[in-house]
Each structure stands twice: as structure tokens, then as C-alpha cells.
Subunit: 171 residues, 2 copies
Amino acid sequence: MESEGRTGTGGAADGGSRGRSGKADGSAEIDYGELPSYIGYLLRRAQATIFRDFERALGDIGLTPGAFGILMLIRANPGITQMDLANAFGIDKSTLTPVLNRLEAGGLVRREQLAHDRRYNALFFEEARKDFFEHARKRVRQFEQSVADRLAPDEQAELVRLIGKLQAAQS
Amino acid sequence: MESEGRTGTGGAADGGSRGRSGKADGSAEIDYGELPSYIGYLLRRAQATIFRDFERALGDIGLTPGAFGILMLIRANPGITQMDLANAFGIDKSTLTPVLNRLEAGGLVRREQLAHDRRYNALFFEEARKDFFEHARKRVRQFEQSVADRLAPDEQAELVRLIGKLQAAQS
DNA sequence: TATTGTTATACTCTATAACTATA
DNA sequence: TATAGTTATAGAGTATAACAATA
């Protein structure tokens, strides 16, 4: 149940006979222990990989995956307030502010203080940038498709279901 | 294919009749559009949720999920070099350095410059902290179990398989 | 020249706490 | 008092580029 392998070492600096013990030459066989069975680890690796791919494929449009998602939500929900958007996206309001600042600076989004309760900012996608957005979305879709294509259609559905189930039990 | 809903707005600040259009009251029904079908988005949400849970459940042991994973790898692979560890964990060597600094400062890990090639640092778990580590690992296991228990055994296996498949096609 | 590891730097993501303004 | 949003701050995580030591 432990699968620790060569533990209990406490080892000295080793004088050369063991040397790098096959680990410093790139072709190493590393003992991952139970790590790959940890769902948190798996998700971190998967997410890092896909985010790197995203950046490589779409870095030139100047939107991070997060910023793009937020932009999509604003466009689909014109007039949404910052609090609702933060909640919907699963981040804190203070995390949202700088993202919106960048989107607004880039002319993609506009804040409008509500007249009847000036504490709220209603958010709107700038229709003047529609062409840019549609182009970006098309490329994001292609990217997502290329990721999804690694799985069969029923596997895609199953993955979505399993990830949802993983979070459903949460507080 | 668009499912944009109420787009084409370009909307004015709205004078009150639409008001917050059911979006500023928390009970909002938000249009997520195609976002939930994006695997990158799903993974980000899932990972964020589980990392938050991890911190809440295990924050008192003073190890982040990443630091704990690295510690596990060092313990399972005594003498591993920093480059090999970074590659195994999927991060850059410069990202690893501060993590190791913290682990070493906490007395959990020791660097030993190899005698026959002093460019390399061999890494060792400090056996003196074995009790602490075993305690931490037990709790991490419990936590991982509580996450895994949200899925049936066959679902767990399937999730691992699907996530693996998602990354397999990568460069 | 090439490689390991460190440092300098930068950026994103994330949060908490304190603040402003509004109600 | 309570809420929306901003700001100040902090920390993890990530990377690239330049550097020192070593080979």
C-alpha cells in the first residue's frame, strides 16, 4: 500500500558508484508513488497543459482564458453587475476588478453605473468590437474543438458529467 | 448554434423598467452560453474548487498542494536532481527553486551538491521529519479519499483515463 | 559551448481587509 | 448598518532571460 520503493535512505552525498542513480540523465524512471492517483494533481497537470496550449494557440489575440470567459459572460448577459458576474464565474469581486479594467482599457467592455442604485455597475460588451470578438471566439472554438477531439463524443459528455459530479458535493 | 440570447444590445444605461433585469439579486438566471462546454473552463473551475477545499482541510499543515506533491516525489526518489524533479512535476526549474527553498527552510528537504559533478543538487527528504510527513500524508489521503468518494470506483478510473487521454495527444 | 541551478523580473490568478460611495 | 465596487496588500504559481559555477 505504500509503494515507497527505495526510501529510508537518509543517504550520504553518494560517492559516485550509485551516482545519479539513473535520475539525472533525462531518461530516468521516476517513482510517482500515489501522486498520479490524486485528483487534485491530475487536474493541475491537465489544466496547466491546456492553458499552455491556449496561450500558444491564441496568445496573439491578447485575451487570457479567464478574460475570454468573462467577456463571453458579459456578452451573453448584457447589464450584469460585477457581483453577479464574479459569483457566476466563481471568483471574488476584487479579482474581477483588474480583469474588467483591462477589458475596458482594451475597449471591449463598458461599465455603466445604474441610475436607480449607483452602487451597481452594469456591464456591457462594446458592440463596436464585435468583429474582433467574433474572430476571437471562432478561434477559441477551434481550439476547444481540437482539445475535445482528443476524446470521443460520449467520452466528452462523460468527462463533463464526472467533473460536475466532483464539484456538486461541495459547500 | 449561437445561443446568444439577448445580444445585439448595445444597450443604453436603461432607465429602470428593465432595471437589473433579474441579474443583481443573486437569484439570477445567468446565461452561460457555450462556456460550460469548454474543457478549459471546466478544469479551471474544478481545480479551483478542489484547491480551495484542500486549503480549508489542510491549511494548518503549512504545505500547499504543489509543495506536498514535490515532497512526495523527493521522498519516493531520493537523490533526484532539481532538473529531473522539475521535469517530472511539469514545471520550470526556476519555479522549483523557491518551493525547495521553503521546504529546506522548513527542515523537510536537504540539497546535496553531487561530488562528481558539482552542477547538480541531489535532493533528499529529511528523515528526521518522517513523523510530520506521515501525519500530513495520512491527512492528504483522507482528503483525496473524500474527493474521490464523490465518484463511484469505476467513475474514478474513467476520470483518470479521460484526463490522461486529454493530455496524451500533446506535444 | 552546454548544462545546472539561482536570481531578477514580470504577469496572472487568487484572496482578505480596509476603504469609498451609496443605500 | 449593509452592500457594490476599488484599492492595498500578499502570496502562490507560472515563465523568460541573464547570470555564476561547473563541466
